[in-house]
Amino acid sequence: MSVLVYAENRDGLFRKATLELLSYAAEMAKAMNTHVVAIAIGCVQTDELVKLGQYGAVKVLKSNPDFNILDIKAFAKIIVAAVEKEQATVILFPGSINGSALAPAVAARLKAGLVTGVVALPTSFDPLVVKKMVFTGKAFAATKVTTPVKVLTLSQNSFGVAEPGTGAAVVEEFGVEAAKSAISLVEVKKQTGKVLLTDAEIVVSGGRGLKGPENFGLIEELAELLGAATGCSRPVSDEGWRPHSEHVGQTGKIIAPVLYIACGISGAIQHVGGISSSKHIVAVNNDKDAPIFDVADYGIVGDFKTVLPEMIAAIREVKAK
């Protein structure tokens, strides 16, 4: 028996979602009286692999470094082989873009019950019952899995990353024959170094109240100052003021930052669904009755044009101290 974690890397480094997932896995394994094994597919340096031991993995399977895309079919075959080798009864994926794509592919191949969007440790292990998000942030369900092997994806920022320990994971080569899919890469466009919306501790977001793309400089400036990611409401990305990847809400990204700052966003139910798991919400809106204030913890009733520059200046001041 073991708990198997898909350790997703981003350009050869383990992302926060992976460390959070391992922290979760370690707690689960403790409760199940077993251990955590991680599998990493793609090119990752050995010292980075060993580091997973600090978050509770006793062993890391190092597999198939020569993929330049997420090949769902091939990756699923490799992970299934690892499940069999390690006799894993619980398989965990991060709720990232790629983790969410792999979990159903693996679950179907194993005919294992799958719960996605898990937000907490199981409330029961036998039978396994976990809490997951449903109705896009508007509710939660307690979901029971009835198969011997279980697959879960963990919502990002729902559990937190544990303090690293001193453990070092044993690294084991685990090459699997997995034919590549008939899919080839034509082009990649990628910004590096930018804080990802789904990973971010702080998100600064702008809505239609900002009137036009030219005013998003203020959002960016505030975000940069706070080390935050930038987001937006749906009409803003529909209008092309901001990229689709920044769209937050029911039809965009569901996020759970520690702090969400909503500027010129009315707080429509579809937007709020995407931010309801934020720990704290600050709203800037010139309409004192805007529904965003119903979900916000702190609010400023005022025009973004004056409020945001003052906020930026005031934060600079406290940061300088």
Partner: protein, 249 residues
């Protein structure tokens, strides 16, 4: 070549969610049902692909797993422009159950291109598309935000962390789609609504399989405390609270 778009019906996105039966079931009283937003966008794009294909795509079919009450939603998809529809006559109990039913639909209909939405706006399983691709062993991509047919190949854009990828895939192919695949869904025109009444809607019995998961209970999020409001000239005071008291910045 034929395209299958898998659709599910979900409560309108403005629905205030409530539960009944001791929080064991969704209270469906007064709910307006709509085509799941991503499925609607997938259908829109499938129709555009067909129209641009110069006859290479013969038909766009929609399929759903659901009871008879889902038929108005299917008729809407036909009114939007799907050529025909298949309803597997069974409640959509869990992702595995639905995927197994849809796999049967794909196999018996010989669909070479299948499109599903990223997730359904009700139980947010985000599983059916991925499971279906696995059951069919099709080439597949997730988070597809643009898609075209080029000769016999698919050119697709997909969102990755911090950017996008463009990929070329061979058929048979399944796309799990999200925003960007189309921006605005097509709305049925009067003519479409008239025609939808006579388009074929085939009802097929389910194949035998079980469920692997079960939602045993629901809860609503805890309501947040009251908002601490500051006036437009109290920005400094708010920043002070966020920094010194809440320690958020």
């Amino acid at each position: 070549m034929k395209i299958l778009v898998c659709i599910s019906e979900v409560p309108d996105t403005t629905t205030k969610i409530r539960f009944t039966d001791g929080n064991k079931a969704l209270d469906t009283a007064g709910i307006q049902w709509i085509i799941n937003p991503w499925d609607e966008l997938a259908l829109t794009r499938a129709l555009e692909i067909k129209e641009a294909s110069g006859g290479a795509v013969e038909a766009v079919t929609v399929a759903t797993v659901g009871a008879a009450q889902a038929e108005p939603t299917i008729r809407k998809a036909l009114a939007v422009g799907a050529d025909n529809a298949i309803r597997v006559d069974a409640p959509a109990t869990d992702a595995w159950y639905v995927a197994v039913q849809l796999a049967e639909v794909v196999k018996s209909g010989g669909f070479e291109i299948v499109m599903t939405g990223r997730d359904s706006a009700d139980y947010n399983g985000a599983s059916v598309g991925g499971m279906l691709a696995a059951l069919l062993d099709y080439n597949t991509l997730s988070s597809v935000s643009s898609m075209a047919l080029d000769g016999g190949k698919i050119i697709a854009g997909r969102e990755i962390d911090g950017g996008t990828e463009t990929l070329e895939a061979e058929l048979p192919f399944l796309a799990v789609v999200q925003k960007g695949i189309a921006i605005e869904p097509r709305i049925p025109a009067m003519r479409g609504i008239m025609m939808a009444r006579t388009k074929p809607l085939q009802v097929v019995p389910p194949v035998d399989t079980g469920c692997l998961t079960e939602n045993v209970e629901f809860e609503l999020p805890k309501s947040r405390g009251a908002c601490r409001k500051f006036a437009a000239d109290e920005v400094k005071a708010l920043v002070d609270v966020l920094h010194n008291e809440a320690k958020l910045i």
